[in-house]
Amino acid sequence: MTNSWTDIKNADLVLIMGGNAAEAHPCGFKWVAEAKAHKGAKLLVVDPRFTRSAAVSDLYCPIRAGTDTAYLLGIINYLLSTGKYHADYVKHFTNAAYIVKDEFAFNAEEGLYSGYNAEKRSYDRASWDYEMGEDGFAVRDMTLEHPRSVFQLLKQHVARYTPEMVERICGSPKEKFLKVCEHVASTGNGEKSMTIMYALGWTQHSYGSQTIRTAAMLQLMLGNMGVPGGGVNALRGHSNVQGLTDIGLLSQSTPGYLGMPRDAEPTLSAHLGNRNFRPLQANQISYWQNYGKFYVSLLKAMYGKAATAENEFGYAWLPKVDLSYDALHQFDLMHQGKINGYVCQGFNPLLSVPNKGKMRAALSKLKFLVSIDPLETETARFWENHGEFNDIDSAKVQTEVFMLPATCFAEDEGSFTNSSRTLNWRWKAADGPGEARTDTVIIADLFLRIRDLYAKEGGAAPEPIMSVDWTYIKPSDPSPDELLREMNGKALVDLKDPADPTKILRRAGEQVDGFAQLRDDGSTMCACWIYSGAYTEAGNLTARRDASDPSGLGVHPKWGFTWPANRRILYNRASADPSGKPWSVKKQYIHWNGSRWVGPDVPDFVPTSAPEKSAGPFIMNPEGVSRLFARKLMAEGPFPEHYEPFESPVTNVLHPKTPTNPAARVFKGDMEVFGGVKDFPYVATTYRLVEHFHYWTKHAKLNAIIQPEFFVEISPELAKEKGVKNGGWVRVFSNRGSVKAKAVVTKRIPVLTVDGKKVHTVGMPIHFGFVGETKKSFGVNTLTPFVGDANTQTPEYKAFLVDIEPLSSGPAIS
């Protein structure tokens, strides 16, 4: 989230789209109720289903699953064609004025940008950039009238997304769409703000990143970034998925969103040279210029004394990545028999990665599988026959499987990072059952055993392993306290103040106050620069429990610690105009008082940088402003464009020749099992229920009692057409598999008219499997396609094609 859960109460308008907070994040949704009750805020919900969030909305607009980008581009077109956007914000705080290279082009007939290579299904992005001036800075036209300015190119790009076109693509009635537009436009003036809340309904598409970009662009057009009650707010999934992402447990990532070394970067200097972040305008902060300090401090945390300037702080010991090893690619490699061992730490891929049949076949090819989990997962039991729910011949599966008991949240201590980026410390309440051990003890044991084997026997490249710093007080059980201190970072020698070398900022061995004190000469260590400030000499700030909120704006600055630098709203300098005055008194947050930036939050800016210096508010970007035009940063284009899901009931009316994301990666064998509308006429979408959390609460008896079994939801109209009775059994099938379910016939599933054609939706909750307290089930991923977003590789769970037929009885229960 750019803002926070408690900040939602400051919104005048809430747009929930691509999510269903009332059902999936109920205690966070309370802040929407608060805004409605105390501020008179309005709630808009745009969703393929009439959800629990829709039920308490002021306006609900239906939409066909998978067409959100077109819908949002339609709103941007409305703003641009009516002039109802925040003109000063757009001019000064976005790259609207930047001139784009002449070579850049978009072919609206083909649906392709310049530089496309059909064979490689990817773009050469060289032309997707700014015109550079002789002074070394990007060229701008502050009148925004230059035909090659981002503003004019955007205007032209979105002009195709008229209300009529939105209705044709999305199936959303034009009148409702225009009402949504009017509400949204009412916040484009600095006086009011809109927050956008989304979740997997936007991410789980083959173009999800572009949908979210479109939302960010919309908020920038309205001046809703950096202000109370504004922002683009990702409602993350698991309790600590934010934290584990921050710490970089992703194939291309390191702690704090730095990059893993790549083959093309043989040395540290090559790695850093690719990331110089030279400012694109005079006086810009371009904060990533400090990248090297964060990177060297991470290497010092990783390799300790073994990391020296002479060996580039151990850079060569880190593995280099040659290609994307995202989860979909990993399981495809496993399916090809190229992976021998696999460890799942609190993860159940047999149910959570698409195409269960492929997943089961892939796991069967492993030599060994280790599950470290508090619960018995379907993955740990993938080799076991559960009748038609998991039909497998155990004798043929040669995989060795280990199921290791881990403690659960109540049985260890440490911090979780919530969706608002706030780290909260948790304390241990009891020991785990039986012989359960904490994750840290299990991981330490694994590492130390392997290191000992290399010490005793040698083997392939022992040096990288032997160089890892493991100087914990008790090596077999590193304490959470020590580990958080390591993430915060400390001085390794006395740190002199660069402004006054007679002053010592931090003594050797002391915790640093924050990332501003980190150095690139090996004199500091810090495992996760964005968490720096969480555990200083003042103690463990994540354990702070002072809930006071002096401004009344839901800042709670002394509750836990929020990254970065305890900042609760990102980009908050943008809440004031270029001269440092608040855009409006009503939305006042951070402003310039003549000598400093002040307000209830930590300024997202250099606190003493005067407005006259003209440094832009988006300090991480070399432009100093935000981007309506993404330059080379997105796989499928610098502006978002509407593409259909890989399985769609209609053609792409904008460019039938390029119906789907041209830059999405599809593996051999997966393209062949996409289904067509002739055989699979209905749009399927998957979702969550308030009683369950993923594949986890099905193990909890109480939750299993209140929501005991798998079902699918269809409209009364489709039920009548197919002869399905409410509560009767049905079979739902895609080109990859088939599941049996009880049917819930409900008006909550609207029937849409898309480009003159009737489109039915089949809704499916995800939560059921064959282990636990709920009734045995197949797993909805039996049906879903194995394709992901072109940038993130998040699988397309939200829109695919199925057929449905009534059954006289349910599955045989073993």
Partner: protein, 199 residues
């Protein structure tokens, strides 16, 4: 009187007070004190309260876990009640149906209690010791690493990667466990590293 009362003491005192004054009103006089001592205090009053965070969604609601057992040596604490933490500024004491049922996750029948092993082709798990399981896993991993580790790519660039074993990290483990996991998996040279974030 300047007395700092813990939440627990306050509950005990008010419980006794209510019983005592009622008895007094009925004229039992001297029996009051003895009776007060015989009243069974609320189980919650004896409980240890621990602040924790709901493990499910990313609202990360504050929770108070109530357990019996004072955590002295040779005792075993048992969690028997869970409430939303009213001090937490985000959830303000509320829990949803997922969080409200969390006790049944902590005590689920399907909790793994011992290291279990399934041999190739076997139809069931059998219980093994931690030591045996970890020794076997370390051995299997070393064998795979020794066989498939890539020190340099075909251009001679040092790449130090181990591309044949993968690790999917959890998303309900702590940040601290996450950092130790990162250090371990990257220290070993793994490139197949993921978590739930993009699934």
């Amino acid at each position: 009187m300047n007395m700092q009362l813990s939440r627990r003491q306050l509950m005990k005192l008010s419980g006794v007070g209510a019983a005592g004054s009622a008895l007094g009103a009925f004229g039992f006089g001297g029996a009051e004190e003895a009776m007060a001592q015989a009243v069974r205090p609320f189980k919650l009053a004896r409980a240890t309260e621990t602040r924790n965070t709901c493990p499910y969604c990313s609202v990360s609601c504050g929770m108070i876990l109530y357990s019996l057992g004072d955590r002295s040596k040779n005792t075993r604490s048992e969690i028997f009640h869970v409430e939303g933490d009213p001090d937490n500024p985000v959830n303000r004491g509320t829990l949803c149906p997922k969080g409200a049922g969390v006790l049944d996750f902590i005590r689920a029948k399907t909790r793994v209690k011992h290291p279990m092993y399934r041999a190739p082709g076997a139809k069931e798990f059998k219980q093994v010791s931690w030591d045996w399981a970890m020794e076997r896993i370390a051995r299997l991993m070393k064998e795979d690493r020794d066989k498939n580790f890539v020190v340099a790519n075909k251009d001679g660039v040092t790449v130090n990667r181990w591309p044949t074993t993968g690790f999917l990290a959890g998303c309900a483990t702590s940040n601290e466990a996450g950092w130790l996991t990162w250090k371990t998996v990257r220290g070993l040279g793994l490139v197949l590293v993921e978590n739930q974030a993009r699934i």
